[in-house]
Amino acid sequence: MTAPIKHTVQFPADRARATSFNEASARTRVELLLDAGSFVEFIGPTAREVSPHLKIFDLPEQFDDGIVVGRGRLDGSPVLVAAQEGRFMGGAFGEVHGAKLIGLLRAARALSSIPLLILFDTGGVRLQEANAGELAIAEIMRAVMEARAAGVKVIGLIGGRSGCYGGGGLIAGCCSALAVSEPGRIAVSGPEVIETNRGVEEFDSRDRALVWRTMGGKHRRLLGAADAFTDDTVEGFREAALELLGLVGAFDLDRLKAEQLRLADRLRSFGGCEDAIDIWTAEGIAQAETIPELPADQFIVLANNIGRTSRDAR
């Protein structure tokens, strides 16, 4: 019977500080985010619970279906964690992938006091099992709100290669709070989807600068869609998660009404803006066009001065 004691936890912070969250695998992110050796996975790769649908398309399966879920400790306290693997089918939601997160959220609701971290890295619905993926996302949104209503803090961390697109963006919108890094793009329709459907005049998906400033982490932080911004390291996300866990309160109707006002105010203030730079300028930022080049530490100071958050209003 050896319960971990907070001040004796050995955390390999140096490795976490030196590791890019964006480039790391889902497993490495989880390993370095949590207290060393504390992670226990549920239905890991040895269980070989693969997608039952990919073989219809002669596509390779992955033994964890592209998501790692389990329980561990963060700064000594228990947390539930789900991490999507953006390198397997773009981290997309399929039947098994989604069901693992649903099970974790339902446990969180029953436990009520243990927070849950979602490390998003997803293009949205997995096309080859589109109906199962879409429905899994709907079930996850419902389960997030039921968990939050029971008192669970659900924190989203967004900085993976596949971003957080499609239904992933809607799940992110259901979380108690979000931390982002610069590469952490959040949107519903991806750049290529908009271009395919509406034409290159509407959105040029090859204009990477346009993609970053329309959907990237800096814009989401300045809009107040994300409450914390971090440099692209696992340690940065660990610290951001701890900070957000200390700030988030319980979900209720007042928050939902405050979110209605927050979003309506955003539409009134910025609804006529053509580009992110116009929004940043309207927020009072001088030389808004330099934002994309600004180093993380300077950007964090600037974003905190603007002070736009979704706190108590999501």
Partner: protein, 240 residues
């Protein structure tokens, strides 16, 4: 089916539902004597930030001083695909609409989605799939992803995809496929009066527990989801 047709056949006891550029809002009288809130999307309108914020406002305004069920009528396009919508954070607006419906459902205002036309992707998640039960009206054409787009991404021909769709409900569009997955609670019979079927549904309304994964298993569309979710839940509850 048009909005006017579905409104006339669903609510013979009267309604004041209006359609403002595809955004649907009003109240309807039920046979039981109660009033219901009605919101929705009509005329295959895409759901962008402007439509979503109006719909969520109607739901939230109704909470607290009205009672009765909330109907969500669905004949939409996909989410509105534009630079402006994404710039303003469409994901938050759609999530907020879904959250408002989920909150209402969890707090004494049972939500019923009525899919009478089209819907897809993010618009479906924010409307019909954010309700307690989604009902299909014969002739509705929901499509999470249309086959031409899927053919482009998977690099398979339309013929190949149509062939594969015969053996599984997991990817192809349509009410029947979504029903087998457990997304559509039931499909109404167009030979029976809709008010009768609506009254039966409200009388036999299941509780707010999300059973779509179990339905999907019973109907043979999603054989693994319910079991995997239950196993993870048990492991998480017993892990130390």
């Amino acid at each position: 089916m048009t909005l006017d047709e579905i409104l006339a056949s669903l609510f013979p006891d009267g309604h004041d539902v209006k359609n403002d550029n595809g955004v649907v809002f009003g109240t309807a009288n039920l046979r039981s004597g109660h009033k219901a809130l009605v919101i929705g999307v009509a005329d295959r309108t895409p759901v962008g930030v402007d439509a979503a914020i109006r719909l969520s406002a109607h739901v939230l305004d109704s909470l607290g001083h009205e009672s009765g069920p909330i109907f969500v009528l669905v004949d939409s396009d996909s989410q509105r695909m534009s630079k402006r919508d994404e710039l303003l954070g469409l994901n938050e607006f759609l999530a907020h609409l879904a959250k408002s419906l989920i909150y209402a459902d969890m707090n004494g205002r049972p939500t019923v989605g009525i899919m009478y036309g089209h819907s897809a992707a993010g618009a479906l998640l924010a409307t019909g799939l954010a309700t307690r039960v989604l009902v299909g009206v014969p002739g509705a054409t929901p499509a999470v992803m249309d086959l031409p787009s899927m053919a482009k991404v998977t690099k398979l021909s339309m013929e190949t995809l149509q062939q594969k769709a015969k053996s599984t409900p997991v990817f192809a569009p349509g009410l029947a496929n979504l029903s087998r997955m457990g997304a559509v609670h039931l499909t109404w019979d167009d030979k029976v009066s809709l008010p009768d079927q609506l009254a039966t549904l409200l009388a036999e309304m299941p509780d707010a527990h999300d059973r779509r994964d179990i339905l999907g298993k019973e109907r043979g569309g999603r054989l693994k989801a319910a079991e995997i979710a239950e196993r993870v839940r048990d492991l998480a509850l017993h892990a130390r």
